[in-house]
């Protein structure tokens, strides 16, 4: 048991860093393309899927991935076809996902209902990050970084203004849909460490923090993943030190980082 502790700490720390880097990277696109409500909705879709997985005695994270990807594939086209603002669709989908999650948990046979599996979906658990997850996260991070580098020019223009990017002859739809799918996958993997109720904080805070310090979107895109990793790692160690839930500690660390960035932001200083 004692010998397992360093392995557990390593696995959790490596998972925290990888999730932080991924969430920090995607948060730049979420904030700049104003997909915040989508990220919020997707995190709860993953939560509902995981709850169904527990209810059906299936792998909750496979179900979480299926739910968040299904949400991603519905929201983008629904918003484009019906010409409804994505905020409106996600505002409707968010409580629906929460309602589904609680129905699935309620329908789960009594003993299972409040097992560690359910609480780990809600609040995250450092114990749930396995070696296989680390491999998936590393592959996902590498793939995301390659995509961002390859299509930086287009993403850069879309982040400035989707309307102007379209007017310049950039087909924005595939990029927006790809970002939505990436959000879905990242949310699902973050669920293990941070939990379904808190994961969305990781989708906004890193980029919101980085934006306080720079007028250059390239620098924001480089610094935001580092902020995400630092938040996850410091939150994780806070959780070890105080024996508090990992997800809650990560959110505390990331929110504290944002609050400090606002206080120290050169963008907010006058005449200095």
């Amino acid at each position: 048991m004692i010998g397992e502790i360093p392995t557990l700490v390593f696995r959790s720390a490596a998972g925290a860093v990888l999730i932080g880097l991924l969430a920090g990277l995607i948060s730049v696109f979420i904030i700049r393309i104003k997909l915040s409500s989508m990220g919020f909705c997707m995190s709860h879709a993953a939560f509902a899927g995981a709850a169904l997985g527990v209810g059906l005695s299936m792998n909750p994270f496979t179900m979480a991935l299926a739910f968040s990807l299904a949400t991603a594939s519905l929201i983008g086209p629904a918003s484009d076809k019906a010409k409804i603002h994505p905020d409106l669709i996600t505002s409707i989908a968010f409580p629906l996902n929460m309602a589904l999650a609680f129905i699935f948990l309620t329908l789960t046979p009594g003993v299972v209902r409040f097992t560690s599996e359910v609480t780990s979906i809600l609040w995250g658990s450092v114990l749930s990050v396995g070696f296989q997850d680390l491999v998936y996260l590393a592959v996902l991070l590498a793939a995301s970084a390659v995509m961002v580098v390859l299509f930086w020019k287009e993403l850069f223009a879309i982040m400035f203004s989707r309307r102007m990017a379209e007017a310049d002859g950039i087909n924005t739809k595939p990029f927006i849909y790809a970002i939505l799918f990436a959000i879905g996958i990242i949310v699902t993997f973050s669920l293990k460490l941070v939990g379904g109720l808190l994961v969305f904080a990781l989708l906004f805070n890193p980029a919101a923090t980085a934006l306080q310090f720079s007028y250059d979107i390239r620098k924001v895109a480089m610094v935001s993943p580092l902020i995400g990793a630092a938040s996850c790692l410091s939150g994780l160690f806070l959780s070890f030190a105080l024996n508090w839930p990992a997800g809650a500690c990560i959110v505390l660390a990331s929110t504290l980082g944002f609050a400090l960035s606002v206080a120290l932001s050169p963008k907010r200083r006058i005449g200095k």
Partner: protein, 248 residues
Amino acid sequence: MSAILLKDVSTTYQGEKKPAIHDINLTVETGEFLCVVGPNGAGKTTLLETICGCLKPVKGEVKVLGFNMASDGVKVRRKIGYTPQDFMVKPDEPYKALDVVLMGRFGKIGLLRGVSREDVEKALKVMEMLEIRGLAGKPVGKLSGGQQQKVMIARALAKEPEILLLDEPLSNLDYDSRTKISELLGEICRRQRITTLVVAHNPEHLLQLCQRIIVVSEGKIIADISGGELEREEAVRALIPGLKVGLR
């Protein structure tokens, strides 16, 4: 082949019964400089956005450079320089003025190809012409309304477009800048044979540059005026009393 061809085009906004523009027929030849005038809410911006494919018409056909905008819009827009009306960037946006100008070329550069030194030089050259090269490294949201407007014009020109669609491009500029920019636009468009449509509520600085004036009212083209500057001015004045069309 006409540069722009609209056949019986009507565009209706979502949730509206009445079209914003209806039964528009318009032919613009390559290299022509047109001014679109009319009162507020006449449909001038809708007309421009329908031509560039930002709005899809509910009826009719829009052809630009021989291509149907309904099927080839994305490809054709790479050859269209467009500046929207009142596009203002918030003060804390993380983009430099040069970034915004350079972005105009992104569609043209194409997928999986990076921005070359030549692209940057072309963007800087246009900024030089518009006297904003000194602002290249400044956050665009920190610039004044007039400076931002010049950045957006530079963005459209940096693309080296075949068609230029400008929606109120001079509205935030001071009198001297309006004169300079309108003369510069006229010179560039003439030299490079760029087909240009400029929407202007008050076209006072553009009248001497344009070869035709399209007057739009209540979603329809009510006049297509060519001829000498004085005749055009008189004709527009007669159609829309109170519209500031001349320098006098």
